[in-house]
Amino acid sequence: MDQSLDFIYNHFRDIEKDDLEYVYRGQVTAHLVMNILELAKTNLAKADDTRKMRSRIYYIMGEGLQNITAHQAVADDPADNSAIVVIYKKRHKYIIATGNLMNRDSEAALREKLETINHLDAEGLKELSRETRTLVGFTPEGGASLGLIEMAKRSGNKLDYLIKPVDEAHSYFYLTTEIDISGSDEGGGKTSYTIQDLIDVHENFNKNNYNLSFKGDFDQENLLSLLSILKSGMSETKTRIKLYGVMVELLQNIVKHADNKEGYTGWKAGVFYIKEHDDRFSLMAGNYIDKTKASALAERIERIDSMDSAGLTKEYNKILFNFNNDPVSTGLGFIDIRRKSGSKIEYSIVDAGNGRDFFMAKIDVMKVD
């Protein structure tokens, strides 16, 4: 057992139904934007409380993400180049938070735009939106301004931002937009996700070299979105093929075997991280399990971890021909993970109260290209 995995549970345990936290760090391409929006759309469609706001939230996310692809700059140090995207839902707030590198010579103009937007009321924003629309066709900046104006107008909130110098020529532009879906004024109080939260996440992701994290409901649709995001964020290499295969088995394992969080029937809360090292990627996942199943699971992983490659092949073939046709469990998932990754499965199981445990696993996939 690996105690060091327990941080996963600590980051996770406060999750409530329909909460979602998705973080991506890396290059943002048009294709990736499409995939992130797809993920957001799937989850919006599932949450009970967003019915009226879905198209608005979707629109604001689209504007925020396209803003990055249109304006991200490229620095000399590749470490500074990664953009950060956070989609966060907690109770009745939806937050879209982004950070990207920009050229410092555009800084003053951007600041002025944002200040203008933030000083206008709803009526003023409507007016500015109309004026800017007529200019869009004529200036390249028009489109960007319109995006920001629309985000402010449709969210009904100020655009919270921070511009942080990175080097002589570049700054980092952080922007958060909050959408209140409670439909009442009461919900409009305290901001649940601040610019500082975004900067903290960015620093944490940079320091630990996380590429992606997802905290929310694990079903087949979310699994497919995460796989698409992996595919669009990385070119096709031997390593990506292995990551893809391990990720499918690891996450379908959650989709099929996870227990729901207490009190939330049918909602399979889980968490997933991709972390990059110089020589390998680590995939980490966590989910609730029924306490009575924990010892059998631990035993099974220990047994598979103890096998060498010949032993794994033998076990794989044995189970392959065992046609019990159990739709839930093939018995091959962990063996396949071991065979594809070439690493042992590190795991940890902690007590999560009320007859549940929380199961965490980490798999290293070596870079082979």
Partner: protein
């Protein structure tokens, strides 16, 4: 017999089974949430085909990826064909992306555990 044709989705393969035209194809991605349910009619089709097969059966396996749940279903199809050896010339064309060691390895393994001629065919990429 009636052909069985299914368009591909993000998590289920393209399937073309047409005895009259001599087409037997599985292509693209296979990671359905419920592989047993997805493959049941396909296995049923092959079981039917076995009753009155063509003199030659070439199964084109052009799967880019299949999950472990699918592998248990695919092996059942291969076993059905193995049982047909005396009635039909069976060939399994197992395509894999040349950089995909895992699909290559699975093809090699399956060719050893299934008693049928396998052609392992590397491709630079699959047609879309």
């Amino acid at each position: 017999m009636e052909p069985f044709v299914k368009e591909p989705t993000v998590d289920t393969p393209q399937v073309v089974l047409d005895a009259e035209k001599g087409l037997f194809l599985l292509a693209r991605m296979s990671l359905p949430e419920d592989a047993v349910e997805f493959y049941a009619p396909i296995i049923e089709w092959f079981a039917d085909y076995c009753k009155n097969p063509n003199p030659q059966t070439i199964l084109e396996m052009k799967l880019e990826y299949f999950n472990t749940a699918s592998s248990k279903q695919l092996i059942q199809i291969l076993l059905l064909l193995q049982g047909l050896k005396d009635k039909s010339d069976i060939i399994i064309n197992w395509y894999y992306k040349e950089i995909d060691e895992d699909m290559q390895g699975l093809g090699e393994e399956y060719s050893q555990i299934i008693n049928l001629p396998f052609n392992l065919i590397p491709v630079a990429k699959f047609d879309k």
